[in-house]
Amino acid sequence: MAPMKGLTVFIADVRKCKSQWQPSLNGYNRKKYVCKLIYMSLLGYDVHFGHKEAVELVNSPKYSEKQIGYLAVSLLLTESSGFMRSVVTALRRDLYDTNECNACLALSAVTNVATREIAETLTEDIVLQLLSSSASMFVKKKAALCLLRLLRRFPEAVKARQWAARVVPYIGHRDIGVTLAVTSLVTALVQQHPDETRKAAALAVRRLNSLLADNEHTVDYVYYRVPAPWLQVKLLRLLQYFPAPESAELRGMLTSTLRRIIDQSQDAASDLQQMNAQYAVLFEAISLGIHLDADQALLQQSAALLGRFITSRETNVRYLGLETMAHLAAYIDDVSAIKRYQGVIIQSLRDRDTSVRRRALDLLYSMCDVDSARAIVGELLRHMAVADVALREEMALKVAILTEKFATEYAWYVDVMMRLVSLAGDHMGDEVWHRIVQVVLGNEELQLYACKIALQTLRAPVCHESAFKVSAYVLGEFGHLIANAPDCAPIDQLKALQAKMGPTSPAARAVALTAIAKFTNLFPEIKTLCLRVLDRFRAALDVELQQRACEYYALATVESEDLLPIVFEEMPPFPERQSALMSRLLSKGADTEDQRTWVLGTRDPNRERSGAQQQQQLPQSPPPGGEAGVPRAADPAAGAGKASSEAKGEAAGAAGAVMPEEQAQAARGRKHYARLLWENDGILHDGDEIQVGVVAQYKPPAGRVGVFLGNKAAVAICDVTIEARSGEGSLEIRLAENQAPPTSLVPLAQARIFFDVTCKDVFATAPTLHITYSLAGEPTELELQLPVTAAHFMDPVTIAVGDFFARWKQLGDAGIGEAQEVFRTPFLATDGGAGPWLRSVVGGMGFALIHGADPVPDNIVAVGIASTATGGRFGCLMRVEPKQSHGLTRVTVRATNSGLAAAVAANLSMIFASR
């Protein structure tokens, strides 16, 4: 029983504690109980209590208590916790403690609980700790990683631009621990502040060289006979963010270092740990070699080495060998060195280990080209039946892409795709069958053969649902092409369709119904039969089916000769756009912070990525080798017969169709803008290529407007410039301090730029935002109105209920500024009437609602005060009177400034108009 005594006492204590607060805990007990709380949270229980005690411990002078306190704070408290403020005070004290152990504790606590306040107030102190000559190595390396954490979490609050350049030289520090930590920090800095950290590359090359060639390290850092493998890996990684060094000396040094690493790993390591460490460095060196793309001999040597690895008996080595080879295959132009191992790689698809199988699939996808496509796709299809379920979806997607990309014959494309949907239909999204239909529709030469195969598929004993959908769609569109062939008469097509319709899902039947409806138009001879089928489905239980059947039936029986052919006209080819398959595959890898990561397969996205990055990192210097600037060569990805579909697409996109699209765009733009008049964040512009969002914060008469720029296109956007122009002198708008507007954006990336605005006096014109960028070499200009108006600099003011109408009358009599508008806005009773929406609009515009001031309960009266820097402050009263029964709302604004009243009224009318 003895060991359980503590537990029993603890439980009893906790029970007693439930309702009363026990102030009398001594340090030892406090430490003990907080420890127990930490253990409880480790076991997965949410510990919401006792946080106060943890904070008490942090403030204790005893090291042991402080240590537990900080541990508890970092594990239990969240950044939004109310205790954070007192933690920050303690942190600041401990950071300057002469006892370095306490400073270390504080630094590691900051890495765990970084809050904005810490970032804003403590960053400078931490930088000093890192740079100070008196601080020990312990403190320095902790400080470096502390900064890294703050930089990641609050990039704009730490003002890295100011200290980045001073930190970089520490890469050459003699202490390996410090170098390691600083290298991590610099790797992050390089991505945000390339200009300040440009020197890092040379330092990294020299450090690497001194580590390997001059053996400049202590014995402590030799890990299983490999000198500081982590540092080597980190430095090699860091170098992958830079282009090849320009100076010949450095380039030579780097090449010889890489060669040394590769040579060293030729002789087999004696034990597993050593091999791991050696290979960790080696794989990184190969990746860097690929990135620098300089020495073909080096790459060929790497390919040979990797070829040995992928047959290794060690699973880890096989895995990494395949992964690195996929990286290599995605970059080098000549994949013949890799093709030699095609057999082995295909064997790896059958590896015992699912992780290895996955890498093998990636590699096959990367190395595929026109010559090997047939073999690889065939192999993948054969393997599909036995592949793990988890892998099948990706496999199907990749097969679909490869087939489309490298198809040289139409027949082959159709055959493979139909087999694919039959085999893996359960494991893939609708994208695949949608894409087949798109391709068939876009390529006239494909249609006849597709029809034949479709009919064959329907007649096979088993027909997968996705295959059924494709077949039904294709026959519905192009059934007439084969109607004269034997056994393919309209009646045969209809029968084949009907025979397989029975067991399919409603979604598939819906597609089949459309096909049958199209038959009524294509084949008048079987119209009655088709009508009979449609008629039967008019009583279908499924609503969608029933509706389709009813509508199609009605259409087909209307006494009009032209209607049917027009409605059921052949679908025009789809506009050429990025394949949904590609975007799906790419979107999988988009959410990583690391910009260096490469995209699998397809060399073009990689080129574009690296091109965009280099431009981003080195705006002045031309891209090395001019490779990034090379326009995309004839790309087989566009699919066979793209030209024909393009020609048709142009014909289909008649000029008349452009106008409504533009109008709709403008309407959407107005809607976005109006929403931002009463909400502080939202989308301002949502185009096909670029998305602009706005986040605003006002401290009248100043404010900060954050503009978010998102790349929605599939390729990088370059040459971005962004500028805000004020409409008139009364409003000042400029780029906030320490802002580096992006020059380019990779696909799916987002950048933000902050503008400081100051309202000097009431103004009437909103500022504009000018964005120019070029997409695939085509410059585009975008001009947007920024939702910043005089009414935005409004603070809510609460006044006594009785005072409102007294002031209202005063203002009315004074007659300085009044604006009145009546809006027609039908509100539905089901939405709870106009009230909630109106109230949120008025509140959102910065007014304080005065409840109970107006005798009519539905009416809303509100007060705000607008501040300007030089013009003074202006009071503003508003009265909103909704007349539910008439669907009308009258809004009256009275202010001590006529411009302000007009601005508020104008905003309101925009909000009402876009509702």
């Binding site: 240590q67 541990l71 002469t98 621990g177 493998p229 794989f283 912070e593």
Partner: protein, 168 residues
């Protein structure tokens, strides 16, 4: 960066849970359970790397693990870390535990879970490896232990107070 460090036993009981990004406790447990179910069924001859599932960061996340006796040591990292580097780091972490606890076993991790955290903090900080020398890690832990001893109040006046003396 390293996103999380987990230690659990064969039954999936957590022995150390450390996330380097803010994440709620239930979500942490969910991830722990999922990783355990993925890892526990893998034979020791298979490789030490797994791709993250949808709830664990997607395909860009790597789960690197090692199996020692009754315990699984799992590091979850993103693509910016070298897989083998992380694998070595696990070995280094275990070696430092072994050095501090002298033949570390599961019970040590239960009874000294706080110390395990301190040791980890000397190896990984802010999701980045901070120290790779066993002796340096040992020195840091020893120093902290010396500080924590109540009777060593005088000892604490050692070097740092000496420095303070000079300053004043």
């Amino acid at each position: 960066m390293i996103k999380a460090v987990l230690i659990f036993n064969q039954l999936g009981k957590p022995r150390l849970v450390k996330f380097y990004e803010p994440i709620s406790t239930p979500a942490q447990q969910e991830i722990l359970r999922e990783i355990h179910s993925l890892v526990a069924k893998r034979a020791d001859t298979l490789c030490n790397f797994l791709e993250g599932t949808r709830s664990i960061g997607g395909t860009d996340t790597r789960i690197v693990y090692r199996h020692y006796a009754t315990l699984y040591f799992v590091f979850v990292a993103d693509r910016s870390e070298s897989e083998l580097g992380v694998l070595d780091l696990i070995q280094l972490f275990v070696e430092s535990l072994d050095k501090v606890f002298e033949n570390v076993c599961e019970l040590d991790l239960i009874f000294h879970f706080d110390e395990v955290h301190y040791i980890l903090a000397e190896v990984v900080s802010a999701g980045m490896v901070i120290e790779t020398s066993l002796s340096e890690i040992g020195r840091a832990i020893d120093e902290a232990k010396r500080q924590a001893k109540p009777e060593s109040d005088h000892a604490r006046m050692g070097l740092s107070s000496l420095r303070r003396g000079f300053v004043q």
